[in-house]
Subunit: 138 residues, 3 copies
């Protein structure tokens, strides 16, 4: 049994979902662990993780509209110093995931056919985000 | 230290929560791992996982009403080709869990007395769903 | 490779977020595991876990207002026997996390600079809550 750790840096283009599945798959394969558990941890409070459909891009657009409606920028927040997009970003992060763990079999993630792992940037501007990856297995 | 993996197939009767605790407990016990970590991963984007109260079924009904209100079928979604229930299903999945990890002690899950693990089917029709299980420990 | 388990008891002062980061960090350090994976599991259905900003307390206040708005106490719930705050508590728990796993490096959690781990009490009254901790690594 052994472990591997990695920091995956992702520069986001501003609000929206970045498909990080290929990067995570590539790192997992390079670890040469046949069976194990992969954990992805997002080291931020205004960006988060989400597993969603990788087929129709309208799904991601509708999700973005949903979060815009439920946590609007003009929400009369106390926390407003960092910009109108910052408090909605914290709410979106609270409602989605900071962390995901996915079983590994035959050296690959056991994702379903239509599943992709997205880093969801909640701030309006581009940011450099860091994901801590951990893999344990043999 | 060793690992065990399993695929648990669940046929859902359509929208609603299926208690998968007994199946997962049975498999965990059969693995004969005294101390460890159990991970459940839902391989779908219109079904998800939820830990909720196992006592009063009205809790599950009120939760269902909540999600119906927050992500209604008549939500003017772009993604509409797969039926009016599909985009709400993706939103519900985004707001709940794709994955749960639960510590194991004395060969059993460390669930609280009132906790059950539910597979939450978000589509109106019956589906065959697959959960990837992973257990590591000794 | 080895494991450690612990039960962390937290007495909450009623609705709101309790920063459990120092307690969890202290226990992790005492385990003397250099590289590994820490899992926190909340054994309740009306309290949950949340990673959020530890800097501006207004973020936590705005989050509390958000959840109050989205799951109000006067929500005409069927499940009402345990008090007007109980069903909103179940909804809040469903929308946040029952469990978090965080990679460990150099004997410490790989949290980002602004991240804290909160136990989010959703009931109005004070409760004694229990977190099951699990650490695996070497």
């Amino acid at each position: 049994m052994r472990q591997a750790v990695h920091r995956l840096a992702v520069v986001t283009p501003g609000r929206g979902m970045v498909d990080v599945t290929p990067d995570i798959r590539r790192w997992t394969a390079a670890c040469e662990i046949e069976t194990g558990l992969l954990t992805i941890f997002c080291r931020h409070t205004s960006a988060s993780l989400l597993i969603q459909e990788n087929a129709d891009p309208d799904v991601l657009r509708d999700l973005e509209s949903f979060f815009r409606r439920i946590a609007p920028e003009d929400g009369h927040y106390r926390h407003a110093d960092e910009g109108a997009d910052d408090m909605p970003a914290h709410i979106r992060a609270a409602l989605t995931q900071s962390q995901l763990s996915i079983p590994v079999q035959r050296g690959d993630l056991t994702l379903g056919v239509w599943q992709a792992i997205y880093l969801y940037e909640h701030r309006a501007a581009s940011h450099r985000r860091e994901l801590a990856l951990h893999l344990i297995g043999e």
